[in-house]
């Protein structure tokens, strides 16, 4: 019963998307092409000329692409779990409308998480396709990157969504973006190995969820994955997701039953 109610909420988001999907083509399809082209190929020529021993001897494109995949999953999660959620409760009040039906706050939350999972799967699959076009994959384990990227996205989506429910001003999201998402994007090993960071900052990078996602995707794509390390990354990301779901159940209930 509970499950089917969450699926109804999922179908609400799907119907919504059917009418506005054209607007997302740019971010879903063109962005991977542009970034892999400019950074992977363009900047890659300079990096490869200078020597890639610090990257483990692979081309910069092969190094960068799985990192960007994880970072793109983070961005998708951020986009889906901030304004759409906040808008539903603050501007459009569709959540208030839904709550007067048999749907409960947790159904709304799980329905939206399902929807985010759907979007993450879609965007990551497109990204992997673009990677294949650019010849950025080094191993058949690349297919494992799909669940890895989705899990990375969920490790952001669940906690951020829980937080979005507690926000009363949308400037909070601008702050989260500036001081959370952008520093992670720039310093969590997407563009260069974390080992280049100063020693005292490095532990900070290892704690960030994006670093775990990047490391997991990169080891799969380069075919260097080890069971122990991968299990550690998956466990960390899954724990963060679970924590987010626990918190989200509470914040949804508190906001909507208030």
């Amino acid at each position: 019963m509970a499950q089917s109610l969450a699926i109804r909420q999922f179908r609400f988001w799907l119907t919504n998307y059917r009418r506005t999907w054209r607007g997302s083509i740019y971010s879903s399809v063109l962005n991977p092409f542009l970034y892999l082209g400019a950074m992977g190929l363009g900047l890659g020529t300079l990096v490869d000329r200078h020597g890639t021993s610090s990257l483990g001897g692979v081309s910069y494109l092969a190094f960068l692409a799985p990192g960007l995949l994880a970072a793109a999953a983070m961005q998708t999660a951020m986009g889906e779990s901030t304004y759409p959620v906040y808008g539903s409760v603050k501007w459009l009040k569709t959540y208030q409308a839904a709550i007067s039906s048999p749907l409960r706050p947790s159904d709304l939350f799980h329905g939206h998480l399902l929807w985010t999972t759907f979007r993450l799967t879609m965007n990551s699959a497109i990204f992997l396709g673009v990677m294949a076009v650019f010849g950025a994959a080094e191993s058949a384990w690349l297919v494992g990157c799909l669940p890895a990227a989705v899990l990375t996205g969920l490790a952001f989506a669940a906690p951020i969504e829980a937080y979005a429910m507690t926000c009363t001003k949308d400037t909070s999201f601008a702050m989260l973006f500036r001081f959370g998402i952008i520093p992670l994007f720039l310093f969590s090993g997407t563009f260069f190995p974390v080992s280049q960071l100063p020693v005292y900052v490095r532990p900070l990078a290892y704690v960030t969820p994006l670093w775990h996602g990047v490391a997991l995707c990169r080891s799969l794509s380069l075919g260097t994955a080890q069971l122990g390390a991968s299990a550690g990354h998956v466990g960390y990301l899954a724990a963060l997701t679970a924590l987010g779901i626990y918190a989200g159940n509470r914040t949804y209930r508190r906001r909507l039953y208030a």
């Binding site: 506005t20 054209r22 607007g23 083509i25 740019y26 971010s27 063109l30 962005n31 542009l34 970034y35 082209g37 400019a38 950074m39 363009g42 900047l43 020529t45 300079l46 990096v47 200078h50 890639t52 610090s54 990257l55 910069y60 951020m78 986009g79 901030t82 304004y83 001003k169 949308d170 400037t171 999201f173 601008a174 702050m175 989260l176 973006f177 500036r178 001081f179 952008i182 520093p183 720039l186 310093f187 563009f191 260069f192 280049q196 960071l197 100063p198």
Partner: protein, 322 residues
């Protein structure tokens, strides 16, 4: 992206309460008026009986000659400044973005890339090569966001211009006011960016003192073009086109690597983009590589801004004064 939305919605939230019509508010004894009243007065007050003093009703009826902007622009800028008092934290946090980018490139990418061939053929450190291009990009992005998303919101949802046009304010004054506001914000960020560049030792020439005015010129060009483009937009979906123009320019206008990486036909396309002109200008100034051809870039950007402003002003009056 969220920052852009938040700026728009913040305007919505703060709009009615922070309107210029409220009596001058005071905070701890300080007047909150940002632009002195004397500067805002359109004509000097004259004694009613004095010769030559226009009678109020007649003055009202004769339409003011159309031009490019005017004192009304200052009113609009003051309105925006008042609104942004409520979201100053977002404004200030904008300083950190260039800092993060430059640090990330300085610590990470520059070690991977080493040196790049600069505009004069001399080897240049990668961070010094990228920094002026990032300044140009941030000038473009700031101006485009202000003149597209925010203007669209004010025009369609906040109905700010409908209200403004019901006063003696003209459409061209609105256009110039919007561009002026975009330039004020852009100027603040450019100064901050230059300070960060100086502290990080990325400035290699005294000509860099001209970098802030140049960044303002880039902002002017893109704000004008953005304003003109916004008047043709019908829904938020059309803003995908804005990203479709700015993101490829950011990535491919020699921001991260020299033009020589491309084959010749691609080079020609890149050379035609306005951001490339801005990048070339700022890179020349900060690396001390000045040559006469830079004047072409100045002309390109100036013409783009003036054209955009003229078209934007005319279109706003056409859209709103039917």
């Amino acid at each position: 992206m969220p920052e852009r939305l938040s700026a728009a919605t913040a305007t919505a939230a703060a709009g009615p309460t922070a309107g210029a019509g409220t009596p001058p508010a005071r905070l701890g004894g300080l007047p909150l008026r940002i632009i002195p009243v004397a500067l805002l007065r359109t004509r000097a007050p004259r004694a009613p009986g004095a010769p030559g003093a226009p009678r109020q009703p007649t003055a009202r009826r004769t339409p003011r000659p159309p031009g490019l902007g005017g004192r009304g622009s200052a009113h609009l800028i003051e309105r925006h400044a008042r609104v942004y008092r409520h979201t100053w934290s977002v404004l200030i946090s904008g300083f950190f973005e260039p800092l993060f980018y430059l640090l990330s490139i300085g610590i990470g990418l520059s070690k991977l890339v080493g040196t790049v061939v600069g505009p004069g053929g001399q080897p240049v450190g990668f961070t010094s090569f990228v920094a002026p291009a990032l300044l140009a990009t941030s000038a473009m992005n700031g101006a485009v966001m202000d003149s597209t998303f925010n203007v669209f919101f004010r025009m369609k949802y906040a109905k700010l211009y409908d209200a403004a046009l019901a006063t003696p304010m003209r459409a061209d004054e609105i256009a110039l006011g919007e561009v002026g506001w975009a330039l004020i914000r852009g100027g603040i960020y450019s100064v901050a960016f230059m300070v960060i560049m100086l502290v990080m030792g990325l400035v290699h020439s005294v000509w860099a003192v001209l970098a802030v005015p140049t960044a303002l010129l880039i902002g002017f060009a893109f704000a004008g073009a953005g304003l003109a483009a916004t008047t043709y937009m019908k829904s938020w979906q059309h803003f995908e086109f804005v990203l479709l123009a700015t993101v490829p320019m950011f990535l491919f206008s020699t921001t991260f690597y020299p033009l020589s990486v491309y084959p010749r036909p691609v080079q020609v396309i890149v050379e035609c983009t306005p951001l490339y002109q801005g990048v070339v200008l700022l890179r020349g100034l900060s690396l001390g590589n000045l040559r006469p051809s830079l004047l072409w870039s100045v002309g390109y950007l100036a013409v783009m801004g003036v054209l955009g402003l003229a078209i934007g002003g005319r279109r706003i009056s056409k859209l709103l004064l039917k």
